[in-house]
Assembly symmetry: C2
Homo-oligomer: 127 residues x 2
């Protein structure tokens, strides 16, 4: 059964937690526990851990989903609390090649492997 | 006089170069010279230099422009060649709080200090 509780972290440690974004593509968001507005406001040690976690999530998505491209974003315009979006994009997804915030390109129903299996792999890699 | 040659790097060293994006907001793009598709494909040393340069550009924008928020993105869907977008966003810019790839919110004419002065400061910080 796929988890639909997008408020419950799919991973957490002392420094950060990761949420699933409710989307048709594989999409996770990495938040530092010590809130900051911009990445440059965080202590260097937190910056390094966030970026390293982003790279691990990106590699795990590439290995598991073989996506056309990974998309990364740090916006936080609506809620100015730093978080890093990591998205697996596919040439037949709803918005490709536009960003997920751009104009929808098509109706799309991706046939992807289980996100819960991906979570387990990601958790293992982040241990 | 403001530079309008957006193909000429505003900064470069042995590892990377920075281009200006032609936009109504302050927006730069950081490219590694050794091309890669994803950040996770780059050598760790290149990753570190790219992220460090992104942080320096972000801090320089915050100091110089006092923006509402910094936005960062790595997409590369149209041209799968890694580059990092660093954007200074303002609450009265054309798209805020939507990403610059989202729906335009308003006509906007920002009264910002000279981008050429910003370039000089950025160059100095990246030396």
């Amino acid at each position: 059964m796929e988890t639909n509780d997008i408020k419950k972290p799919i991973f957490e440690n002392e420094m950060l937690y990761i949420l699933k974004e409710d989307s048709s593509i594989p999409w996770v968001k990495i938040f530092p526990k010590k809130e900051c507005k911009e990445l440059s406001d965080c202590d260097k040690s937190i910056q390094d851990i966030l970026i390293n976690t982003m790279i691990v999530a990106q590699k795990a998505m590439i290995d598991f989903y073989n996506p056309t491209k990974i998309n990364i974003a740090m916006f936080g315009n609506y809620l100015p609390k730093l978080h890093i979006h990591v998205m697996a994009r596919f040439k037949n997804d709803s918005h490709y090649p536009e960003p997920m915030w751009g104009r929808k390109q098509r109706e799309s129903s991706l046939n992807l492997p289980s996100f819960n299996d991906f979570i387990q792999i990601l958790q293992e890699k982040l241990k």
